[in-house]
């Protein structure tokens, strides 16, 4: 059941005997099929939940003029809902690669924090290639579930957990991308608004419970609107508006971080909501 990994690992662990026995036993199951299946079962709900969102992504991407298979490859290689929506919006508007990269970077910056937190829970001797596989599966939902695993995250459990979400995310995109051809024109021209409505649906519920988040949204939106309409300032809103988003977000978050400090307890609650 456990392959030969147990023998291999115990050799490695002789060098690092400082870890508690239970932790070592858990790490020994890093290659276990049983752990993979347990992850698979837990990931089922995430995978199903991803389908409608990625369906909409496929739909919107094709409406914006993307080849359906390009949309599918973007889904498969990014596995990041918000970042992808922002990405296709920028590519569609003809933004530069630097703008695209910067926007993707700041939108997905939270994954950096999640990876950072996850890395404390991995086997210190886990080889680099396994770490690289685990890193690919860091999304809001997968991270949230793996965070409930306690102090140690097992490689085969984590890969099991990320399998169905990846399949669901890709499959939903395929369905959405090809369904898009079946829609009448009046539906097609109105579909573009769906993307922004989802953004609102992501940020507004947490804002209802935290006035700090509410101010953050208000400040960032105001800067974004100002950058679009105030003469001379509005040069940053050209070519897809990537720079406008970057400036508004960094300035907005910096203002909020300076004037509205977050207690750590508050952050934990909000993280689950986003």
């Amino acid at each position: 059941m456990d392959f030969n990994i147990r023998g291999l690992l115990s050799q490695n662990l002789e060098n690092v005997i400082a870890y508690p026995k239970e932790t070592v036993q858990k790490w020994e199951r890093n290659g276990s099929i049983k752990e993979y299946k347990r992850g698979l079962m837990m990931g089922k709900a995430i995978g199903l939940g991803y389908i409608p969102v990625s369906f909409t992504f496929g739909l919107v991407a094709v409406q914006m003029g993307f080849d359906p298979w390009v949309a599918v490859i973007i889904s498969l290689t990014n596995l990041a809902s918000t970042g992808q929506f922002a990405g296709i919006r920028l590519i569609g508007a003809g933004a530069s690669a630097v703008e695209l990269s910067m926007t993707t970077l700041i939108i997905n910056l939270r994954y950096f924090l999640m990876s950072l937190s996850l890395t404390q829970k991995l086997h210190p001797n886990m080889p680099l290639y396994k770490r690289c596989i685990v890193a690919f599966g860091v999304t809001d939902e997968i991270f949230a579930l793996s965070a409930m695993e306690g102090e140690d995250v097992i490689f085969s459990f984590y890969t099991g957990l990320m399998t169905l979400p990846i399949i669901g995310w890709t499959l939903g995109t395929v369905l959405g991308a090809f369904a898009s051809y079946l829609l009448p024109t009046i539906v097609q021209v109105s579909m573009g608004v769906a993307l922004y409505c989802m953004f609102i649906a992501i940020i507004l519920p947490p804002a209802k419970h935290s006035h700090k988040v509410f101010y953050a949204i208000l400040i960032a939106s105001s800067i974004s609107i100002a950058l679009k309409y105030i003469p001379y300032l509005n040069i940053v809103s050209q070519n897809g508006g990537g720079w406008s988003i970057i400036i508004s977000a960094i300035l907005g978050a910096a203002i909020c971080a300076t004037f509205f400090k977050i207690s750590r307890h508050e952050e934990k609650e909000q993280e689950e909501a986003v």
């Binding site: 080849d67 922002a86 990405g87 950072l116 996850l118 573009g192 649906a201 939106s221």
Partner: protein, 108 residues
Amino acid sequence: MITFSNAGFMILVMALTTYLIRVLPIAIFNKKLKNRWIQDFLYYIPFCVLAAMTFPDILFSTNSLASGIVATIVALLLSWKEKDLVVVALSAVFAAICTEYIVMTFFA
């Protein structure tokens, strides 16, 4: 049409950026961030990015300003009531389609 041949580089840039953000901490770092300001800044970032992307562009994302405004109002109301992401999006699109239909029938 945006295809692999004319947007291949952009697709690669996007995929690489997303992956590097995830893989760098796992592959390199071993310590937690201690600075409170940076922690707060990173906490606010997703909200600010999404807000900046949505406003004011949501108003001009359909064929007419009227349907953009109606869709925005529907999305704000349903989101405030904490409806599901997909429900919010589909309801707002439906509202936009109805407005678009009214505009095309009576004002065009």
